[in-house]
Amino acid sequence: MSNVISASHLTLAYDRGNKEIIKDANFNIKKGDFVFITGPSGSGKSTLLKALYGQIKPSEGNLVVGGLDLASARQSKLQDLRTHMGIIFQDYKLVNEWTVAKNVVLPLMIAGYSMDVQHTQAQRLLKHVKLSEHADRYPMELSGGEQQRVGVARALSKNPVVILADEPTGNLDEYSSNVIWDLMENACQQLETTVLVVTHKIPSIFSLPYRHFIIESKGVYEVH
């Protein structure tokens, strides 16, 4: 199976290359892989995720996502790549002045889908994450777990090729966390979506086969 993500001698750094976070990393991730990335605080897990959606450019080496070399990609190509990604954040990153339904269909809005399609998809996705009755409410009116389910629904709304999740259950109680893991497992299993999750701890309830990368001392290592 082809690589969806491929890193070769990848170095990520801040401060114009002076502060290296990840150095000379090499890894490949295939379509349908479920990947956990763990490591101590400040090790560069979130930095790697940012690099994967093009927020940070590699200082050295190559990082290819969906066939696009992020080191040299133009902004318009990056924008296009992001429309094929679902991104989930620890702090949800929902637009507070928009309703839950509008938040969920943001990727469809960006892709230019009609209002009818957006409405139908919003209903379907909110039913899927068990938030149908909250469609017209605003994010601030929901609990943290509910907000994160909105975030997951948004990430799934355009059947993305890759889902990138940064500590998706970091702020949630056990019940809400289990719901989120369940949703991501389903996406990976049923849609063959590649899922990368940055987390402190791999959940014990997780039932799918997965790959595990550790970031330590600037290196990215796969645990077998």
Partner: protein, 271 residues
Amino acid sequence: MKFIKNHLMFILPLMAILLGIEFFLVFDRTTDSYEKGLKEGYSMLVVAKKTMALEELKQLNAHIDSSENIKRESIVAQIAKGVNKSSAEEILQALPHFYSVRLDSYVSTSDLEKIKKDLEKDKNIRSVETFGSSYSSSYRLFSFIKFTLRIFIVFMGVISLFLIIKQMEIWKYAHKERMQIMEIFGAPLMLRSGVLFKVALLDALIATMVTGALFLYLKFRWAGQSGIDIMMQNQDALFKITDIAILLAAAVTIVVFAVYMVVFSSAGAQE
């Protein structure tokens, strides 16, 4: 209430800039006509030994627009009362030729001096009287009014720009998070800035309409009834329909610049 306040905070400084632009346009038009009046009301006196054609005078200085020969007979009639006809004839022959010379524009006092010198270089011209002191005081007053109004307009523009920058910071604060989230999900610039553009363009339209309405009121209601000569004489110059296009273009330019500044300074999502 907050909605109205947010709009007013952009509309008012934008209106101040548009008022400044409109004041400038109106002032330019009225001073043009005032300048024309001053120019037409002014003439210098040239005393020549022989008759001089306009072309000869124009060759001496390009500012000379027209000349009128002052009839010497009427002068002789005034100064030679009770004198016999042959003596009056002698006086007439001895008198030089007088010309009232008009200029093509309302020149500065230094230019006026130069014209005088150019004319006096000609050996046939005996003297030139520019009536410089009254010309100079009119010119200085005119220049002073022009200068102070321009300073006022620039000052108003600078203050308004600061207020607009302040409003841009508020926009940034209000829209940054949404624009960054949209950017993460791949929204193009126009989509990210769409909401802000709509708000700002609406404000630009309102500011243009209010400014236009204010000047239309000044033109059609106030100026006619004001009893102020300069206003009544220049009623037409107070507002022209083409000014709306100029004001709208200025407002839209400011809006586009302000919105893009906010959008670009908000780009680059931070976690």
